[in-house]
């Protein structure tokens, strides 16, 4: 049992309730903040002011929007499946909140004299909880699309199901290397294991794959195909209104916060401040919460930045990226990490000398390079229909350009001969007007 788990085991009931309410409030406030922040940042990227009316600096705009949304009429389409239509937003919202329970948002603190860790529970399978919650959350999206009883939401739901399942595989495989290095699935243990070095530079490939797949997993731009406005109106939530729509919105933003928090936990050292040891003042008590929130906000900014920068991918390109690049790279990477760990173990046990390992590694590298140099380059393909380009890189017409024959004059074409109207007068009048 880890240190954090022991700390958490003797939490009194009131403290657990305080933590639950605290996490709930944190997530809701983060959602309200995120919506506003996103609008402001995207607005600044597009050189416009963004929301600036409600509250100080416009920061209460999303609160006002949320309240207004709650009082709107709740419309249910005639063709909708009554119960599933009602259930879908709830299903998408509950796991979103649930997943945050295992995230360690701070180190050891004392709340009203009670020593505890800033985390609700520490399970031996903590990382799997987040994955399980996200896989249950997809049901909300899929069922909402199906239950709406109209084609666009259904298409959005189908896309979403395929997308989330594909990217969850890449995400899981990228996490495997982290789990292997920290020798635990518990989130608190993973943070603990990063005392010696954060995983984003120890396992850079895992980090890159995780960051890409977390954007795919949360249906955010440039991977927001399930709700692509230009193709599917609104995607799975086209038919939803009022509070049900608000729940979908809430779930999407909470999922963003959760995957960002998980990225912080897995790769950025959790609540640790960089460059100082664990017994430093900056790593003690409530400071951890501050660093954790700052790191999470950095990831959330990345989400906004991506949305403001990149256009949406085409669906087949998107799936190809997931299955043909991310998954194989993750597989090869995690085998490589396992091999490296094995070699290190052998060296530490004295079975292998460092010199031997380096020599073998160098020999393999040299062989690969030699083969790469010996392989003939692929011939450049010549396009027989290509327009010849002469100088400067501008496409100019070729010297032997055959000028096409002039088209037949219009007056050669037979036109309908209408009887002559006494139009001369009007024509003359108009001409006169034009002259004057």
């Amino acid at each position: 049992m880890s240190k954090t788990a022991e700390l958490l085991a003797d939490d009194p009931l009131w403290l657990i309730i305080v933590k639950v309410v605290g996490i709930f409030a944190f997530l809701v406030v983060m959602t309200l903040f995120m919506i506003n922040w996103e609008r402001k940042v995207v607005a600044r990227m597009q050189q416009r002011p963004g929301p600036n009316r409600v509250g100080p600096g416009g920061w209460l705009q999303s609160l006002a929007d949320g309240l207004k949304l709650a009082f709107k009429e709740d419309i249910r389409p005639v063709l909708a499946d009554k119960w599933v239509y009602f259930l879908a937003p709830v299903i998408s919202c509950v796991p979103a909140f649930l997943a945050f329970a295992v995230i360690p948002i701070g180190g050891e603190v004392s709340i009203f004299g009670e020593r505890t860790a800033l985390q609700l529970v520490d399970l031996p399978v903590g990382v799997l909880v987040v994955l399980a919650c996200s896989s249950v959350g997809v049901y909300g999206i899929v069922l909402s699309g199906w239950a709406s009883g109209s084609p666009y939401p259904l298409l959005g739901a189908l896309r979403s199901a395929a997308q989330v399942i594909s990217y969850e595989i890449a995400m899981g495989l990228s996490i495997v290397a982290v789990v292997m290095n920290s020798a635990s699935l518990s989130t608190a243990d993973i943070v603990e294991a990063q005392a010696g070095g954060w995983y984003f530079y120890l396992l850079p490939v895992s980090f890159a794959i995780y960051v890409i797949s977390m954007v795919g997993e949360t249906n955010r731009a440039p991977f927001d195909l399930p709700e692509a406005e230009s193709e599917l109106v609104g995607g799975f939530h086209t038919e939803y209104s009022s509070l049900k729509f608000a729940l979908f919105f809430l779930a999407e933003y909470i999922n963003m916060v959760t995957v960002s928090a998980l990225a912080t936990t897995l790769f950025l050292g959790g609540w640790r401040f960089p460059f100082v040891g664990d017994d430093h003042l900056l790593n003690s008590g409530w400071f951890g919460l501050l660093w954790f929130v700052l790191k999470t906000l950095a990831f959330l900014f990345l989400f906004i930045w991506l949305r403001g920068t990149l256009p949406r991918l085409r669906y087949d390109q998107f799936m190809r990226l997931g299955w043909k690049f991310l998954v194989p790279i993750a597989l090869v990477w995690f085998v490589a990490v396992a091999f490296a760990r094995y070699v290190r173990q052998e060296i530490e046990a004295g079975g292998l000398a460092t010199g031997t390992v380096l020599a073998v590694f160098g020999a393999v590298l040299a062989a690969v390079l030699l083969i790469a140099f010996l392989l003939p380059d692929r011939r450049e393909e010549r396009d027989p229909n290509a327009v010849p380009v002469t100088g400067g890189g501008f496409p100019v017409p070729p010297l032997d350009l055959a000028v096409p024959k002039a088209p037949p004059r219009r007056r050669d074409v037979e036109v309908a001969r209408l009887p002559k109207e006494p139009a001369a007068v009007t024509t003359g009048k108009e001409a006169g007007d034009g002259d004057a």
Binding site: V125, S135, G149, L154, I165, E168
Partner: protein, 277 residues
């Protein structure tokens, strides 16, 4: 399963084969839920509802595993079965469509008989296994593997990659074979006809015999039906406007239009109101 309701003192180390109050409560909540899910799956009329009831059963089972000190099994049950497999089922059901009803015609011969035999056999197996579990097997509990040697997950991993390596690899080979087989079946027809690339399509369009779009049907005619071909300025039918699958309108019915376009037909009087025909 003997449910001895023993109030357990609040210590983290639990005795091997006793059932705590919390566990008993969880069982009596989740057990009926799982059963209700199974019955709902059987009796739901809509296929998607049926799948959802099954999801409820799977989730209840997953939570039951967690309560019974097997957290890894519980979450893997949720991730793999609920998250991936049932999602694929739903995917197919949604593609089939909400209104498709079951076919009454039985395609497989003798399936009722086979189903009966298999059902009875399965019931016998379940009863036999349950009976043996209740009488012969003595529960040892999961306390030892959960606390020693790195805990639950580490012990499962070690067993999978040492004692049970061969069955594990065999299962994965089976699954991969199934996946590749499905892909081969699905893509066999697609591979033959090579799709044109975007570049080829563009070149075909701009350098082909006819730049620009094909004439729409019925442009010069009095009807806007697909069956009405477009007429060229000389009154002949534009061949490109003919649909490949729709039979065009008979030539005689176009005579008036042809006459009008070619200028040989009835001309309105000079003082007639035009556009009224």
């Amino acid at each position: 399963m003997s449910l001895t309701l023993l109030a357990q003192p609040g210590i983290t180390q639990q005795v091997a084969d006793t059932v705590t109050t919390g566990e008993a409560v969880a069982f009596w909540v989740l057990g009926p839920l799982a059963l209700a899910g199974a019955l709902g799956m059987l009796f739901a009329r809509n296929a998607v509802h049926s799948a959802l009831w099954l999801v409820l059963t799977m989730l209840s089972l997953g939570v039951l595993y967690m309560v019974q000190q097997a957290p890894f099994l519980g979450f893997v049950q949720i991730i793999v079965y609920t998250g991936a497999i049932m999602m694929l089922f739903l995917f197919v059901l949604m593609l089939v469509g909400r209104d498709s009803s079951d076919s009454v015609v039985e395609v497989l011969r003798g399936q009722r008989f086979a189903a009966t035999v298999l059902g009875i056999g399965f019931a016998g197996l379940v009863v036999g296994a349950l009976g043996r579990a209740l009488t012969d097997v003595t529960p040892v509990g999961l306390v030892t593997p959960n606390t020693t040697n790195g805990g639950n997950v580490a012990n499962i991993g070690q067993l999978l990659f040492t004692d049970y390596l061969f069955p594990f690899e065999l299962t994965s080979a089976l699954l991969i074979t199934a996946a590749i087989g499905a892909m081969v079946l699905a893509f066999a027809s697609r591979a033959k006809q090579t799709r044109k690339t975007q570049r080829e399509l563009v070149e075909e369009r701009f350098r082909g015999e006819r730049p620009g779009s094909l004439p729409g049907p019925g442009v010069f005619a009095t009807a806007n039906s697909v069956a009405t071909p477009a007429l060229l300025p000389d009154g002949s039918v534009a061949r490109e406007s003919l649909s490949e699958i729709v039979e065009p309108t008979a030539k005689e019915r176009l005579d008036d239009d042809v006459a009008e376009v070619s200028g040989t037909g009835h001309r309105p009087d000079a003082r007639a109101l035009k556009g009224e025909s």
